[in-house]
Symmetry: C2
Subunit: 333 residues, 2 copies
DNA sequence: GTGAAAGCGCTAACAG
DNA sequence: CTGTTAGCGCTTTCAC
């Protein structure tokens, strides 16, 4: 394995010139540049990034903390992050935390020990249960919630949930159920707020029985459906807002298994607009989050921070879109 | 930011002792060890991994090349990889190549420039269109195909496709269609082989019209369905093998839109067993690949290679499972 | 069991 | 525009 010294020797220049030829070619004469490139070719030189990064005190790597990479929405956010980072010469270390705090801490150590320059967190901030923000750690939150105490890019979760609920009400539904994530999850909190605002605005009284707690998985959506199935038919919601598409998909399965027709007997609206939601039967009405854009914006924010710049906006809110498909219909009779 | 020298000074020992206390504690006296740990605490020392890795000529990082992270199957393989790597103190750099050769090359440079020690490739090997194997690059292929010229962990794709087709034949189906990936994709080739073996064994003549080319996306599955819909009804397959679940899901949508009832009019079998396949309507009969296990096995192989060990088995074949659900039924009348 | 010292391969003043 | 030189923070001989 050849090094910068070998190149310098063959090219007949100093190692400084070789170094400059690579990282600041404009400061080197055409002639030297040519010699250096020929020498590089000849000795098959590949710069040792381990050495370069060490010397520069930068890893040119970030780590992304994601609760579950198998979740399509998260995967798409990560793709956006990676795309931007790649363009800027940064690597992205994957930190699939599987919702375990210990793993989050483990991955954060990469930043503390300089293996990574910064971190993008995909888990929403929760007071008392967050490893971020932290001193000396440059971080941004992606797809998070209101009132995140460090730079954050997100959508208006409450507003989106209100939009979806308003729509169901406009369809004539009065008994509107909701499938949430875990009760203390900030996404649950924000979206529940929007749901309740909508109910209040329409003069509908909130009912505990209309809330089924899930955990953002298909499986938990199916369980949530069973909760509603158990209610007497005249108290059962005629429409349901699910706080993500996975749970909506699970719920549809659960309702159908119980002989409840979707959307004939019950309308359902999801959240996220993952790809498969266009293909389910019925196709899912849902809130479309711009997953990749969220990732890209978060990456750009982090890059600015890493360059030592101040951020103009610490809470960057991207627009969502409400997509009507066939899982929601006017209340029958 | 404190360094090893600060620790040594406070502890009253040499920097060599501090270094040893951290990487080979058994060679240091209890007394020194205690002093060192107290000093570390006092000056808040975090070892600089950039320096350590540079000095050790190892990045303790690998890169994983994945065609598309938004594909649930790939995501699960990556999760398996990451889990093992994490346990062994290695980071995993994400290389979502989006099926672009240029991006593959870009990411491979990380290995050549020592930012990563090795690579796991999730795209199957294709002669004449592969950046691997490559001299001086330690690599293993995960979820690949037969005859991969470097270490590989996979399932028996041909066997699995044959199993699925045999099953459809046993259900009385004679006209059996297949939705493939791109024609030159090795997975397409291997699985098509199994499909044809099954047909031959049953004395059914292969028919060109029964093959629709997709590209492993839901969208392309939907298009493939339209190809079959265009065939005269008495020549149309009564059962279809889709080379992955995504295309099967797209195809179901396509058939249903055309008024074809699944599984009443047409049985369909998928491949991979991604999570959502349990929740579709009808639930998908499919070949279950042990995605995480494949990832873990590939990671363990790479780790062995990185430690300079020889591999006992260069083609590690894991078992698949055939999962019967409701998308496949006996041929009607 | 411990310390002194020599670098790993590169970058970045600094002087010319 | 170019070369000399002093390290970055750590590991690892080699003596003692």
């Amino acid at each position: 394995m050849s090094n910068i010294r070998d190149v310098a020797k063959v090219a007949g220049v100093s190692i400084a010139t070789v170094s400059r030829a690579l990282s600041a070619p404009e400061t080197v004469s055409k002639k030297s540049l040519k010699k250096v490139h020929e020498a590089i070719e000849q000795v098959q030189y590949k710069p040792n990034m381990l050495a370069r990064n060490f010397r520069r005190h930068r890893a040119f790597t970030i780590v992304v903390l994601v609760p579950n990479m198998a979740n399509t929405f998260f995967a798409n956010v990560v793709r956006g992050i990676e795309d931007i980072m790649q363009q800027h010469g940064f690597g992205v270390l994957l930190g699939d935390t599987r919702d375990q705090r210990k793993r989050e801490e483990e991955y954060l150590k990469l930043v503390e020990t300089r293996q990574a320059d910064g971190v993008i967190q995909l888990r929403p901030y929760l007071e008392g249960d967050s490893i971020l923000p932290k001193n000396d750690i440059i971080a941004v939150n992606a797809a998070g919630c209101e009132n995140t105490p460090y730079p954050c890019v997100r959508i208006d979760n409450a507003g989106a949930a209100k939009t979806a609920t308003d729509y169901l009400i406009s369809l004539g539904h009065q008994r509107i159920g909701v499938i949430t994530g875990l009760a203390n999850n900030p996404h649950t909190v924000d979206r529940l707020k929007g749901y309740q605002q909508s109910l209040t605005a329409a003069g509908i009284e909130f009912c505990e029985d209309w809330v089924a707690e899930g955990e953002f998985t298909m499986w938990s959506g199916l369980n949530a459906a069973q909760h509603f199935v158990r209610l007497p038919e005249d108290e059962r919601p005629t429409a349901i807002l699910s706080m993500n598409d996975e749970m909506a998909i699970g719920a549809i399965k659960g309702f159908r298994t119980a002989g409840i027709n979707i959307p004939g007997d019950l309308s359902i609206v999801g959240f996220d607009d993952i790809e498969v939601s266009r293909y389910t039967e019925p196709a899912l009405t849902t809130i479309a989050q711009p997953a990749e854009e969220i990732g890209k914006a978060a990456a750009n924010m982090l890059l600015k921070l890493l360059d030592g710049n101040e951020l103009r906006n610490l809470d960057y809110v991207l627009p969502y879109e409400f997509v009507v498909r066939s899982s929601s219909v006017p209340k029958s009779n």
